[in-house]
């Protein structure tokens, strides 16, 4: 599903942040991405989400060489990827329901066609009572769950999560991990970027460790 060959990334004329990345992410797989702060985890996630282009090497996503793709094709590929960012990126003027339903609105679907699906998912992640709340009044954990719900509502083939448990207590962190595991069981390939060792120890999965721009994989 994802293939990186000799991929390097630098910002402007600066040093290479990521070097000689070679890996594959098969469908239905689960992996943690870890490493010290500043190791390049977020940059790698951005490469995977196509918001950065590599300065060298080949990135192949869903069978497409991304260097050959135009903006519209990249937007189409992004619809197959869900992303949860550290700062949630919820839209403050929209309710929790509207934020989660946003991918469907962008697809041009009518509200009646996805209403039940969104409400079911919100109940599933424990936000059934907060559907009409605006993000500024949600707690950190609720925002995190809303962001996750938005990322998975359109059933992406690949889910990227950047420090998804960074702003929640350990109990909620464990619950969120269970959510990701369940999503993975239902067919979504998951990559969770974290430096929370305790979280990774809770689930046996492949680990990608970034160190000084290089990637080490522990099966």
């Amino acid at each position: 599903m994802v293939r990186f060959e000799n991929v390097g990334l630098r910002y402007g004329l600066g040093p290479e942040i990521l070097r000689d990345l070679n890996f594959q992410i098969p469908p239905h797989s689960f992996q943690f991405l870890t490493g010290p702060s500043g190791a390049g985890k977020t940059s790698l996630l951005r490469l995977l989400f196509l918001s950065h282009r590599p300065t060298r090497g080949l990135v192949n996503l869903f069978g497409h060489d991304i260097s050959q793709l135009g903006k519209d094709e990249i937007a189409d590929l992004r619809k197959r990827i869900g992303i949860v960012l550290q700062d949630f990126r919820l839209l403050d003027h929209m309710t929790t329901y509207e934020n989660v339903a946003l991918p469907f609105r962008v697809m041009g679907r009518s509200e009646s066609s996805y209403r039940k699906e969104v409400i079911d998912l919100l109940r599933w992640v424990g936000l059934g009572e907060r559907m009409d709340a605006l993000p500024p009044i949600l707690s950190g954990g609720e925002k995190q769950r809303a962001a996750i719900a938005r990322a998975v509502i359109s059933r992406p083939q690949l889910l990227l999560a950047d420090e998804p448990t960074g702003s929640v207590d350990p109990t909620l962190g464990r619950r969120l991990l269970r959510l990701f595991i369940e999503l993975n069981k239902s067919g979504t390939a998951v990559i969770i970027a974290t430096h929370d060792i305790a979280l990774m120890d809770q689930y046996e999965a492949r680990r990608f460790v970034l160190h000084q721009g290089r990637l080490h994989i522990y099966e």
């Binding site: 946003l102 697809m107 009646s112 424990g126």
Partner: protein
């Protein structure tokens, strides 16, 4: 993924109470309507539209008043009969009046009597003077039927044959001077209008840039959920077109009210010396219905200019986000 089956697994994620049945929802717009930057943009467009409308309205007023003047003056011919030794001024005046009345295309001839001619000189010479001692010429005003071409040279010859001291003036020099002055005023008005429109585009671009910077997180989130540039651009262009039209309608509407109000004020002062002087100079000081239509079209155009200026800024922002 079958969520119905898996819901039980994650039921401990929240403390849920019984849920309300799913119902249709009024969805918020993707780009929020009310924001500080949005209101600032409406204010900028409204002010610039008001200034542009005032300029256009004034240009229309001046050119309409000048056209009225020109048409009044152009439809008149003045014949001056000067006193001449050995000739009877009264008889010459009467002969010229008759000759003018016989002229084709002349609808009205009004000779000024001795007393009337004297009154014309009162502002300069004062009252109480005996006009018998002064060689005061006589004036004859002839009104020409509109659209009738007159051979002024032939008319002059005929009048000179009737009374050698008669001279014919069709006010051509005055009209030419008026036309130059009016054209210069209208040209200056268009110059100011062009400057106002350029200033509108520049200020709208800056205001849009501010509004887009404030909306950048929305653009980023839309990218995250797979929206293409065209989708995002459509949403934002619609938003900015609406803001531009809102500003245009407010600015243009206030300008129309100002012109309507000025017309009422001119009506209140009509009959007073100030009002009469003003009316003599600027006509009725009222915009014709076509003038109001021009102002309305201009307001819509400025709204469209806002959308076009926003489009440039929007695509620059989309490229930056990419």
């Amino acid at each position: 993924m079958s969520r119905t089956d898996e819901r039980g697994v994650l039921v401990d994620l929240g403390q849920e109470r019984p849920q309300l049945p799913a119902r249709a929802r009024n969805m918020s717009p993707i780009v929020p309507r009310a924001s500080i930057h949005g209101r600032a943009l409406v204010a900028v467009v409204a002010i610039m539209t008001f200034l542009a409308s005032m300029t256009t309205g004034t240009v229309l007023l001046v050119s309409a008043s000048a056209a009225e003047w020109q048409s009044d003056v152009a439809s008149e011919i003045t014949i001056q009969v000067r006193p001449q030794a050995g000739r009877d001024l009264e008889r010459d005046t009467a002969a010229v009046t008759e000759a003018m009345r016989a002229q084709a295309g002349i609808v009205e001839v009004k000779p000024f009597t001795k007393d009337e001619s004297g009154k014309l000189l009162e502002p300069w010479l004062g009252t109480g003077l005996s006009m018998d001692d002064l060689p005061v010429p006589r004036l004859i005003i002839a009104r020409v039927q509109p659209g009738t071409p007159l051979d002024l040279g032939a008319l002059r010859n005929r009048m000179t044959q009737v009374a050698p001291s008669a001279s014919v003036d069709d006010h051509r020099a005055w009209i030419e001077r008026m036309r130059s002055m009016t054209n210069a005023t209208v040209l200056a008005g268009f110059g100011i209008l062009a400057l106002v429109i350029v200033a509108t585009i520049i200020s709208v671009s800056f205001a849009t840039r501010g509004a887009m910077a404030a909306n950048r997180p929305i653009v980023e989130v839309l990218h995250f959920v797979g929206a293409g540039d065209r989708y995002i651009a459509n949403r934002f262009l619609r938003h900015f077109l609406r803001l531009g039209l809102e500003g245009g309608v407010i600015g243009g509407g206030v300008a129309m009210l100002v012109f309507g109000f000025s017309e009422s004020i001119a009506g209140w002062f009509s009959g007073t010396p100030v009002g009469d002087q003003f009316a003599a100079l600027l006509g009725t000081f009222s915009l014709r219905p076509s003038g109001y239509i021009v102002l309305a079209v201009q307001a819509v155009l400025i709204g469209a200019v806002t959308a076009v200026a926003s489009r440039q800024t929007l695509f620059a922002t989309l490229n930056e986000v990419d």
